[in-house]
Symmetry: C2
Subunit: 137 residues, 2 copies
DNA sequence: GTTAAACAGGACTATTTTAACCCTATTATC
DNA sequence: GATAATAGGGTTAAAATAGTCCTGTTTAAC
């Protein structure tokens, strides 16, 4: 269906939320989940992925939470997608060749791969900084 | 995971197969399934979708089968995707607003929709005619 | 006109992926 | 030491995808 996952959308919302709060402010998952209206546990997983990718930074313990790990013009939508969904694979064979039973006789793999690359370029073209301007404007 | 469905790939292969056989030649689902190595029943569903969209034309009865319904430069990859997967919805709310619990407070919907449009433009930029040239070249 | 080979399509089942939840650490403030 | 937070493994639930089955309908060939 070529649809982004909920986890990705949660992550994207979280990043823009953190961005509007500024780099200094430490925000808890609870606050974000309450504010934006989705599951705390699930958002928590998304934040952990973002943290591992360096997009978010975490502070543990009481008074802990998350902040952005980079400046907003240094995070692209592609980065967020990569952090949360892992390497993109528009076609099954990208995960592993034997995921497709007709791998050896397939002629349109090259096209699909360039298509995937073009989609990646689209995602990489939007930084969180530019996204925020779109949102406000 | 932003991955195309198997049904779409089956359909795309079928269309290029029909295209190489020329508009005159009527090809059965059995032949295509055997030739390309996938489930006859499942490919049959894809062909039915392609037929309903006018991309393929069918001949019923003994000696029946499928041919292309249009010229190869009149079919784009986007057309095939539309025929097989229906209207694309990069985000849940595209299907129906109430599919997303935070619809009313969502700020990045506009961006996601333009993103989807750009992906559609990518798909629409490739005709079966140009795809065949890529494959051969 | 009977048979057989093909498309048409509804309904069902199985598999896989995604989403959500639970529970136990660990960390650090108070 | 109590508490409020992140970290993360493991399990379950729900949804989407893939695949099958079965019953019609059409039509060429005999
Ligand atoms: S059909 Fe081709 S492009 Fe698609 S998964 Fe198989 S090998 Fe890859
Ligand atoms: S988060 Fe926004 S864009 Fe995504 S489904 Fe919900 S309303 Fe649509």
């Amino acid at each position: 269906m070529l649809q982004v996952s909920r986890k990705f959308e949660y992550g994207l919302h979280a990043v823009t939320y953190l961005a509007t709060k500024g780099l200094g402010r430490v925000v808890t998952v609870k606050e974000m989940a309450d504010e934006m209206g989705f599951s705390q546990e699930f958002l928590s997983k998304a934040m952990q992925s973002l943290k591992r990718a360096g997009i978010a930074a975490s502070v543990q313990g009481v008074k802990g939470g998350y902040t952005l790990g980079k400046s907003t013009d240094n995070i692209t939508v592609a980065d967020i997608a990569l952090a949360i969904e892992g390497k993109p694979h528009l076609v099954r064979c990208g995960v592993k060749a034997d995921r497709c039973e007709i791998f050896s006789s397939c002629h349109h793999r090259g096209y699909m791969n360039t298509l995937q690359h073009k989609i990646q370029v689209l995602l990489a073209a939007t930084t969180v900084h530019s996204l925020l301007k779109e949102i406000v404007g």
